[in-house]
Subunit: 136 residues, 6 copies
């Protein structure tokens, strides 16, 4: 069993906001992360797949294909976008690292399976001091 990881990047605006809470509660919980006009990040996503080596190619997965999957299902939908307003699969989602990881997993699991591999981990770096990891 080997693990192959591909990094991609997207630059997005967001604010932390739970649409089922009052403005007052949101401001109390999220502080400056809830400022009304949004802030933003250069996100880095690391997608790790696991599998056996294909003896013909020497690959677990062709990195070009993994890149294409991440691009199609994550980057094209999030890059240069506002995560609270513009992304179909994030509707009504409070875009914390944690919630993004769960939603990104839902996006990537099936197309990576279709390549004959298993999605093992998603790591999402929000700033140089904060990141999260999810194993499904």
């Amino acid at each position: 069993m080997l693990f192959i990881t591909r990094r991609e990047r997207f630059s997005s605006a967001h604010k932390l906001w739970n649409t089922s809470l009052s403005d007052e509660e949101n401001n109390k919980i999220f502080g400056k992360c809830a400022y009304p006009n949004s802030h933003g990040h250069n996100y880095q996503i690391f997608v790790t797949v696991k599998g056996q080596i294909n003896p013909k190619t020497g690959y677990v997965i062709d990195a070009k294909n993994l890149k294409s999957i991440i691009k199609k299902y994550i980057i094209d939908k999030t890059d240069h976008r506002n995560l609270n307003m513009d992304v179909d699969f994030l509707e009504n989602i409070n875009p914390t690292i944690e919630n993004l990881l769960v939603k990104f997993w839902e996006q990537l699991e099936a197309p990576i399976k279709a390549e004959g591999c298993n999605l093992h981990k998603i790591k999402l770096i929000e700033t140089e001091n904060n990141y999260g990891e999810y194993y499904g």
Copy 2:
């Protein structure tokens, strides 16, 4: 003459938009950088001052003071904010790297002079592939 540099960081939303142009022109010039609901970046600002070594302190400038100046005049106004909407000294400014550098210079020049040093350079990193520099 020695040069001392302090790095600080701010996470902001922005879009590239010249308020004196039509929507059509903005979209044509700035493409995805003009998407209406903003995107964002983890900006890094590097502020370089030049001066003689003070023989008592061994400093050109006390890095704690340089940090405080950058924090007061740049970070407290831009971090977790939208650069098109929330920053007093950026009103009606299209927040390209270039325009930000010029406006940041105006913010920092006088308070650094008041410390007995001269502002030499501001470097602004927007992504790992794009940055600008300004010498006043």
Copy 3:
């Protein structure tokens, strides 16, 4: 189950020295790491907690709280200090990466539990070529 990591930094002096061994033995085992007047490092500590997403906040843990815990129990005691001489919870400890990891775990486990999460891993980077990890 999700994993959230916060990085903090501290700049400390140390030397590798087992106080129960002779000078000769220490010098033989630790070489230049045992030089008498200490050397030092910019340490980076990555603290990973695991837990369920709180549906109200979208957080496993509020990163501000995790930062405060690391600051109170690790950084305030180690930063700008000598790890062999100045840190209450390191008395008579030889400050190798390994021993630091175990002692940092003892410092952080209870206060993170008090936040409703579990400490999962501590990673300690000493130089760009050397780091250690501990899972308790």
Copy 4:
């Protein structure tokens, strides 16, 4: 149980090429990675060992010894070399990240065992966007 990691680097040429396939098949599968005169990378290898802390040294493994093992069994054979042509333990191996990891494991497992530790993981970074991991 603690985990200690040492990073080393090597700069090598390679191309992706399965010697049991036709030129046409190789070119189809590997594209620009199969260009005939090779390309190259600054590889980074991270070797992680696991073990108990030796109470005398405070080490799981002396990083100097771990460095020497990686140097002798990997770096001296791969650095400034062509991975398809120059490395005894890579003969007839298609030097993908995956195949390199398996072969590096075979090189390192025994000498690390001889130090009283267990090899836990090898991570190999090929570019800032691509890496693999192997646990044996």
Copy 5:
């Protein structure tokens, strides 16, 4: 006057070899950098242009255009290639950092001028410990 920098990357094989010297002299001068089957690097090129801000766009140069120029004149010719054998503008050139910088300048100067800017500096990083800079 402002300075805008764009980073691009290419992964190439090369060896240091002066075709007008004997094998013996080449091996003596360049040591392991002259090994016959080549080694390789992940090169990073930073291209800095200088100019006035265009008041309409807020740009000195549109980074997308700068990226396209570097891609067309450098990356498409060097990436996944052997610098001693495959690059038209490097024929009979010993691909040291210094010689590459001069040849890259010749490639980039005119097309950047055609954008209404001036090429100011090229920085070429070969490894994390070695880089060169050229101002024409």
Copy 6:
């Protein structure tokens, strides 16, 4: 004219302390940087030389020679040492970034001249947020 830079690293203890001032004054000026038992850093030094390309070698300077000079005159004297106590050329020097840069320049200027090049700049990184530069 071309510029070649070599990076080297050293891990040292230091405190900021002007031996001609009272304890009280030192503590007032330098705060936590003056704590009595020292702290420390992973320093990075970038040494830039300028010169013409030697047409035989394609080098301004052989990076191996530049590395040897930095190692002999800086690293061997500072690495794993206390900058206030152990370094011959730093006696009675308050080891701020600024003072270190001036003293490092004195160490490196002549041996680099002896290689037929000119020392152009020394950059000294103390932490990821603080560095200094000196041009002699």
